[in-house]
């Protein structure tokens, strides 16, 4: 087949002449049909089907969300019931992990347990605590934080062991970081017999934990 060559003057005549042949008619029909199909697919069928499937997906997702929310509401009601049942027990959690360091109270407890176990505190240090009002912690919500401290108790081994055991049996969460038992130096008091020769130094490095929600 010869390529079509059009001249502006006899354009209409040439087109008529070309379309007169069956082959050109068939080709033209096929080409225009495919272009028309492509056009309608792109601008009519595609948006319609896309909207249809999008809406169907939205309905499915909404049903799923509704089902999961129903489950969550049920779980929340159960949680509320459990909370009411354990309301008194929850206070124990506040004692174990208070919302503020409460280090002064903790310090009193440590002092009391040392005295009760007939030991004496010979040194105490904490770099994480100040007696000034605590600054509000905005970041790291819900993460346990610790006030680290070290102290040395001086007494014979059984008393010091008891101090350690009592410290570990406090409701307040205390994490031991290091423990050292060391013989005390031979002081003048010891030489003269005014201090016990059995005394040993128990050095404890630990952290008292608290949990902030603000």
């Amino acid at each position: 087949m010869q390529p079509i060559q059009l001249k502006p003057r006899d354009y209409k005549q040439t087109v008529r002449a070309l379309l007169a042949t069956e082959e050109v008619q068939a080709y033209t029909m096929a080409i225009l049909s495919f272009f028309a199909l492509a056009f309608f697919t792109l601008f009519a069928i595609k948006p319609t089907l896309t909207s249809f499937f999008q809406l169907q997906r939205q309905i499915e997702d909404s049903k799923e969300i509704d089902r999961k929310l129903e489950m969550k509401i049920g779980a929340l009601l159960q949680a509320q019931e459990l909370y009411q049942q354990h309301q008194t027990d929850i206070e124990l959690l506040d004692k174990a992990l208070p919302s503020e360091p409460q280090f002064t109270e903790f310090l009193q407890k440590v002092e009391r347990l040392v005295v009760e176990n007939e030991s004496t505190i010979s040194a105490f240090a904490s770099h994480d605590f100040s007696f000034l009002p605590p600054e509000r912690i905005v970041n790291e919500q819900g993460k346990p934080k610790a006030v680290d401290f070290t102290f040395t108790a001086r007494a014979p081994f059984p008393e010091n062991e008891q101090v350690l055991k009592t410290l570990m049996r406090l409701k307040r969460v205390v994490l031991l970081k290091n423990i050292t038992f060391a013989k005390t130096e031979l002081t003048e008091e010891k030489k003269q017999g005014t201090a016990s020769l059995d005394d040993i130094d128990l050095s404890i490095g630990a952290g008292a934990y608290y949990l902030t929600y603000e």
Binding site: V24, Y27, T41, K46, F53, R57, I65, T166, L170
Partner: protein, 62 residues
């Protein structure tokens, strides 16, 4: 260009549009419409208490 070339171009155009449409529909069908906020809201949780913790705490000293 001959008529045959035009026919080939029209067929390729149609096929491209058809494949594009099928891909778009598939993509729409499999893409979730749940927003991150909704996902956070429907995040499940188990309403349970560790009773052992309470027992342990009750046994401890103040």
């Amino acid at each position: 260009m001959s008529n045959k070339d035009w026919l080939v171009i029209s067929i390729i155009t149609f096929l491209t549009v058809a494949v594009w449409t099928v891909y778009e529909i598939y993509h729409t069908a499999v893409t979730t419409t749940v927003t991150p906020v909704q996902e956070k809201l429907i995040d499940p949780f188990e309403p349970t208490f560790d009773e052992e913790v309470f027992k342990t705490l009750q046994e401890r000293n103040d």
